[in-house]
Amino acid sequence: MRRYQGRVFAVAFHYLRDREEARDAAQDIFVKVYEQLGSLRAGDAFLPWLLRLARNCCIDRLRRLKVRTPARAVAVDEVPEIPAREPSPEEASLLGARHGLLYRALARLSSKNREMILLKDIQELKLEEISQLLALPLGTVKSRSNRARIELAKAVRSLDASFGA
């Protein structure tokens, strides 16, 4: 659980856009993992199974709450804490601002594109795994993923023209 809690929390936060909701959802997800671990067949990759379960759980929660993901920008101080890989406070501060920028740019995307970015570029699932997870043809996943990345890159540029320079 300690190994995957960060990933699950990140997925929940991306879907729910609220720290407390994401925390509760992540708890629900792990409880479901505990209950449904028997359904994981031998030879199945654990991470796609976990992410599928997390996604379904988050979507259920969104439906239950009857709210839509807000299209508002996410403030930097709302962004959850990034795991401590930053070697210095200056870099940590810089990374915090950069990640805040990314969250704001992500919030500008459509929910489909945001989900594609989450699965392909953030969680680094393979196109085949995403195709299975979303029940979409492989070609559709590939073209939608490319479109989402371009859209995100344009959103980031519009927020900060120096990003990537």
């Binding site: 960060g6 959850p80 990034i82 890989r85 990537g164």
Partner: protein
């Protein structure tokens, strides 16, 4: 002849590949038309070095028909991921070299490819794991886990000793001071014991020990003489000899059996039977 006729054959005229009769007609027109003369001079100019090679052609094509901004944008993700075939990669790279917007977009995409995976792992608060375990573990395991985690932290606190002392005093006070408690008169008894003369309590045990010492001394005085001790020694020696003799006989018998077995095995194997060792003889003799 009109200028338009010459323009139609300009390429062949510049390459000097026209038949002499036809060329003569055009030269007649050129002599009278300065514009056509200038056009023919331009057509006969040699291109400067570098113009016309592959890179130059790709550069022109990248900016015109084959890879405009839309086409380059569609190929950018594959370019960043390293999945673009070499030919298309060259075209897109040529386009990026001449298009600032697309180049900036490519830079952002490259930075995103490095940055986005870092968002995969967000840290929830420290109590997250405990909360999940609280919902999944059985009650007994939860209680055990709580004590395993809480007890060491609780004991290591600096105030632990004073808290234990305080609780101890409270317990003693409750037990002793409660009316009807079987230990209610314990303080009075303890006080009486402390106040009593310690020697009074020791008199009886000391007298008993003195009696036992005196009895022992009397038995020693009226006890055995030296002759009595000698008789006892002889008896013990005889008993020891008898026991040792019996043991020797058992050892001798076992040795004889063992030697017979060895001789039998060696005989079966066709090996010569060795003479008995000295130690064996000494055992027999001893027996």
């Amino acid at each position: 002849m009109e200028c338009r006729d010459l323009e139609r054959r300009l390429e062949a005229l510049a390459a000097r590949s026209l038949a002499p009769v036809e060329r003569a007609r055009y030269e007649e027109h050129l002599a009278a038309c300065a514009a056509c003369r200038e056009l023919l001079e331009l057509a006969r100019l040699e291109p400067p070095p570098g113009v016309g090679d592959d890179a130059w052609v790709d550069g022109v094509l990248a900016r015109t028909s084959r890879a405009g901004c839309a086409a380059a944008e569609a190929a950018l993700c594959d370019l960043i991921d390293g999945r673009l075939p070499a030919g298309e990669r060259r075209q897109v790279a040529s386009h990026l070299a001449g298009c600032g917007d697309c180049a900036a977009l490519a830079s952002v995409l490259a930075a995103l490819a490095a940055e986005l995976p870092r968002l995969a792992d967000l840290r929830p608060d420290d109590r997250f794991v405990d909360d999940v375990l609280a919902r999944t573990l059985p009650v007994a395991a939860r209680v055990r886990r709580f004590w395993e985690r809480a007890w060491p932290r609780w004991v290591r606190r600096p105030r632990f000793a004073s808290e234990v002392a305080y609780v101890g005093v409270l317990v003693v006070a409750l037990v002793v001071a409660t009316p009807g408690s079987p230990l209610a008169d314990a303080p009075g008894q303890a006080l009486a014991t402390v106040r009593a003369d310690p020697r009074a309590g020791l008199a009886a045990p000391v007298a008993a020990v003195e009696d036992r010492i005196e009895g022992a001394l009397e038995r020693l005085a009226a006890g055995r003489t030296a002759a009595g001790w000698r008789e006892s020694g002889r008896g013990a020696l005889a008993t020891a000899r008898t026991t040792a003799g019996a043991a020797g006989e058992r050892i001798s018998s076992a040795w004889g059996t063992l030697r017979g077995e060895i001789a039998s095995l060696l005989g079966k194997a066709g090996e010569p039977v060795p003479e008995p060792a000295e130690s064996g003889e000494s055992i027999e003799e001893a027996s």
